[in-house]
């Protein structure tokens, strides 16, 4: 797919790196998004998780943050012919919750859905779903297991070099951004500034390599106006660090995602399911019907 910056054929670029709003618009329209696997969720996200942006996803334990993270690491690899990015993924696991068996299962689910939706694909093409192997999906996920905040800072600094070597990486997932910082960092003022530096670097990576950065975050309880409320961890100053912020929550018996903050999307919410195949629509078969 074409992601080269548009030629500026007016007077040549007067300012290095500058871009007109029109160019940005057409680039945005060219841009493909990473599907979450759930159409309703993609719809409120404006097509899926956006490249060049930092998206923060938070929620209570067990709501499906890691599931969504693993799903995105698989979905980013969907071939271009099938509407994907054909990219690779970096998964920075600070909690030890990434399960390779589960990722394998999600990859199988992804392949089986693609083969239903893209039956017309030529059999000899590499992107023919029937020729895809779950193991190849797993081989394209670069996994870092982080055991302290020092390692986390080091890994994010090192990303810059790593991404120079691995040009195909289209998504960086950090699961979770919070864990070690909430546990081991004593000086809170310093913590805020170190985190600030980290988020700047991530934003820079996202722009420079046109990739999506997804930060999973834990929730905590906050005492506001006489009652406890749920809120994402790391405090208010951190909340500036992401472009978009999505909160996963229980609405009765259904899982929902809510757009809490975004410069371009309306705040909205959509239900999603965590199935054995991965993240899916609540209303099943919707996808199949639409493709036919």
């Amino acid at each position: 797919m074409s992601r080269t910056s548009k030629a500026r054929n007016l007077d040549g670029p007067a300012l290095k790196g500058a871009q007109t709003a029109w160019d940005m618009l057409s680039e945005e329209q060219m841009q493909r998004h990473i599907t979450t696997g759930c159409e309703e969720l993609d719809a409120i996200l404006g097509g899926g998780i956006h490249c060049k942006e930092v998206t923060e996803i938070g929620g209570v334990p067990g709501i499906g943050k890691t599931q969504l993270g693993m799903q995105l690491a698989i979905n980013v690899q969907i071939p271009v012919d099938c509407g994907g990015l054909n990219g690779k993924a970096v998964y920075i696991d600070t909690e030890g919750s990434f399960m390779a068996e589960r990722a394998h299962q999600i990859a199988e689910g992804c392949i089986s859905d693609l083969s239903i939706n893209f039956v017309h694909q030529r059999k000899d093409s590499i992107s023919c779903p029937e020729r895809m192997e779950p193991n190849n999906f797993l081989a394209n996920i670069f996994y870092f297991r982080i055991c302290s905040y020092t390692e986390q800072i080091a890994a994010i600094n090192y990303l810059e070099k790593f991404l120079e070597e691995q040009k195909d990486v289209k998504i960086v997932i950090i699961d979770s951004i919070t864990f070690h910082f909430r546990q081991d960092f004593d000086d809170l003022a310093l913590r805020t500034r170190v985190l600030g530096g980290m988020s700047l670097k991530l934003m820079k990576c996202a722009k420079k390599h046109s990739l999506a950065v997804v930060l999973l975050n834990q929730v905590t309880t906050k005492f506001v106006e006489g009652s406890f409320q749920l809120s994402l961890a790391l405090g208010d100053s951190w909340s500036h660090s992401s472009t978009n912020r999505i909160i996963l929550y229980w609405n009765g018996n259904e899982r929902y995602a809510y757009i809490d903050k975004s410069p371009s999307l309306r705040s909205a919410s959509a239900p999603f399911l965590v199935t054995s195949k991965g993240i899916r629509n609540v209303t099943s078969h919707c996808k199949r019907v639409r493709m036919m």
Partner: protein, 370 residues
């Protein structure tokens, strides 16, 4: 990795000396500071600081692996301690996973310790009987461990082994009980365990109960530093499980939820008020160790009672949807009444129910107390 010395990282010696002179010796020292602070402190220009930080980061960053190689590793190391509860093992894809933290939550007397005793026996059993043929370290913080009951469970579950006095002695001899009475003692024991785990073939670590230690600790200091107290054992237990690739099982207690703990997000405001007011009528239990703890466990199993039965519920697991199984506590330990899991949806996944206590209390009295 965090404590790697800067002096061995191949930085230009001029920079290396500046770091040493400012007493910045390890990767942790250097990376805990924002680049700007580092520049001020070292009094060198930003470009040099960035080069140095990049180099230090590259070395301190753990190695990259592919998810495929993780999968292959898991396949090699086996990966699970079967609970021998068929339905539950199926839901958990084989049992209690190696290398992860598994938590049991439930009201007192529901069967958490029974479950732990059975797990301890299973890990000690010879491989020919489907066990792990290893030692078990059992951290008994509430003095609830009962060896008579342990042998009883053994006799009823694995009669051919436990009817022989010699074998029973050998099996029970593999289970090592520690009784730490404070967090400091628990911490110390865990550190010692780390050193002996491999040499002594320890195949399972149980902490029963984790919550008891912390509540005791809270009574001692009411300074409100609750979060600080438990942060250490948490990441330590996780890394212990991963490094040694053994299962670690901890138990957690419950407490009743306070009325002012309306746990929802500000944006949910109005719509949930209605739901909550109706729910408030039934007594509501939550895990004693709070939400931050819950984020950190890989698998959470809830033991609860409702509709006149006890249930074991897979509340959080990256490998399984939420299902629950009715169970009873028999002389052979916990046994499932049905191996078909009932699917649980919505908020019920994480709630802990404790209804019909009276019936259960009677039932509890008729079996040996542990």
């Amino acid at each position: 990795m965090a404590n790697k010395l800067i002096s061995g990282m191949g930085l230009p010696s001029s920079i290396e000396n500046v770091f040493a002179a400012r007493n910045i010796l390890t990767a942790k020292d250097a990376l805990s500071l924002p680049e700007f602070d580092l520049m001020m402190l070292l009094d060198v220009d930003l470009h040099q600081v960035r080069l140095a930080v990049a180099r230090i980061s590259e070395i301190a960053c753990p190695p990259c692996r592919t998810a495929l190689s993780l999968l292959e590793d898991r396949a090699r190391s086996g990966g699970h301690l079967p609970t021998r509860l068929r339905g539950l093992d199926h839901a958990l894809r084989g049992g209690i996973p190696f290398g992860a933290l598994t938590e049991l939550v439930g009201p007192s007397g529901i069967g958490k310790t029974q479950f732990c005793l059975k797990l301890a026996l299973l890990a000690a059993l010879p491989a020919s009987y489907g066990g792990l043929n290893g030692r078990v370290i059992y951290m008994d913080t509430e003095s609830k461990f009962n060896s008579t009951r342990l042998i009883e469970i053994g006799r009823h579950s694995f009669p051919h082994i436990f009817l022989s006095e010699r074998m029973a002695q050998e099996m029970a001899g593999r289970i090592i009980i520690l009784r730490p009475s404070s967090l400091a003692e628990l911490t110390e024991s865990l550190q010692q365990i780390e050193l002996i785990i491999l040499q002594h073939d320890v195949k399972l670590v149980i902490v029963d109960s984790m919550a008891a230690i912390f509540s005791r600790e809270n009574e001692r200091s009411t300074s409100g530093q609750k979060q600080h107290i438990w942060r250490w054992p948490l990441s330590f237990l996780k890394s212990l499980a991963e490094l040694s690739q053994i299962p670690i099982v901890v138990t957690n207690q419950v407490r009743s939820q306070n009325n002012d703990e309306v746990l929802h997000y500000p944006f949910q405001g109005q719509m949930n008020d209605i739901n909550n007011s109706s729910k408030r009528v039934e007594s509501h239990l939550i895990a004693a160790l709070g939400i931050q703890w819950a984020h950190s466990v890989t698998i959470r199993l809830i033991l609860e009672a409702h509709s006149g039965q006890r249930f074991i519920k897979v509340s959080k697991s990256p490998a399984s949807p939420a299902v629950e199984f009715p169970f009873v506590v028999e002389s052979s330990g916990i046994s499932l009444l049905s191996d078909e899991g009932l699917e649980v949806t919505g908020s019920e996944i994480s709630t802990i129910r404790w209804q019909g206590q009276n019936i259960l209390v009677q039932e509890t009295d008729s079996r040996p107390q542990c």
